[in-house]
Amino acid sequence: MLNYLQHLGASGLSFFQRLGRAHILFAHILGGIPSMLPRLSLVVHQIYSVGVLSLLIILVSGLFVGMVLGLQGYNILVDFGSEETLGVMVSLSLVRELGPVVAALLFAGRAGSALTAEIGLMKSTEQLSAMEMMAIDPIRRVLTPRFLAGFISMPLLAAIFSAVGVIGGQLVGVGLLGVDDGAYWSQMQDSVDLYDDIYNGVIKSIVFGVVVTWIAVFEGYDAIPTSEGVSRATTRTVVHSSLVVLGLDFILTAIMF
């Protein structure tokens, strides 16, 4: 019993220690942003590996999610004789929820894990130590540009996901199931609000971008510098950021809509 309590206490303490370290690191990363401004090429290179390389999976998943929504939505709506509102259903589910959330989950799996693995590997091969010994702050030189790249890429990826999804829904709904093309778009435009829906969706994806990249970067930087430690950290990045994205999504939805 006492052992169990001790174990509980120890894991609680280590949890709060990690949380504290994560916040200190976050402050440090943000502190490095001003020094990044004259060196945007560093950020551009990270946007390539974080954003451009995630593009394919985002495009494909967005298209298929949109197509599935079109198919499922049609089957439900046709029972009520209101298949004209298919566009509304597809676009609202994408813009409000699926776009930001699924894109963030995919982003965590594709870019987040890669970030953790890369930084963890740099740590285990002493590259970060070497930078420190060269009087270069590895947090500013390595972590800040990656963080900024995630912060910039995530909303763009989510927007691409939603846009492609709306087109996918149109392909299925209009092309395959015979919903009127004009009704698909005009009903959508009537019901989707720029501020309530799209703007809030973008805010969601920005929050997710910050959180996922933060977790990924922290896990990499905090990883035990062995191959086992790095692989564990990579797993943790995907699991933790997925959970946090889903939890935050609930909170944000409750606040916004």
Binding site: S41, V44, H45, I47, Y48, G51, V52, L55, F80, G81, S82, S91, V95, I152, S153, P155, L156, L157, A159, I160, S162, A163, V164, V166, W185, M188, Q189, D190, V192, D193, L194, D197, I198, V202
Partner: protein, 157 residues
């Protein structure tokens, strides 16, 4: 990695992302409707506007020509005041145009349908519609229906 190639791809990526945002704003949402808000505003009093919302469609002959821009309550006459924004190109509506609240489909959205009268003068900004017909409330309709049956029963006896 070739720097130039990377930068071009990143440029394309950012452009694609912005294009997607732009498409969401222009084609998916109602931004283009906001932008066309150059128009004139008329008001109409209704006894009952239940189900009508701000931004509900305003149509004439089934074509959307404007939107509901505001709904408020007149505390003196116990009526609803509805402000309607009509797009500026439709500036030849006669002054005695009437407004009714309709439902799209059985359970669909409420919208305002306008019907032209025969007046020579045209509606201008801040004008008020005189002839209005209120929203159909399903419960009232049903009770009237049931009442008429009861009345019929009584007269039969």
């Amino acid at each position: 990695m070739n720097t130039r190639k990377t930068e071009i791809l990143v440029g394309l990526f950012i452009a694609a992302g912005l294009a997607a945002l732009f498409m969401l704003a222009m084609k998916v949402s109602n931004l283009n409707i906001y932008n066309n808000e150059a128009g004139y505003e008329i008001t109409a009093n209704f006894e009952n506007v239940s189900g009508l919302k701000v931004k509900s469609a305003v149509t004439m002959a089934g074509v959307r020509i404007g939107r509901v821009s505001d709904i408020s309550f007149d505390a003196e006459r116990f009526e609803a005041i509805v402000k309607i924004k009509i797009e500026s190109q439709y500036n030849t509506l006669p002054k005695d145009t009437s407004a009714s609240i309709y439902t799209a489909g059985l359970l669909g959205e409420k919208y305002i349908g306008l019907e032209a009268g025969g007046d020579e003068e045209n509606l201008k900004d801040k004008d008020k519609l005189k002839l209005t017909q209120s929203s159909l409330v399903l419960e009232k309709l049903i009770s009237r229906f049931v009442d008429s049956f009861i009345d019929k029963d009584k007269s039969d006896k």
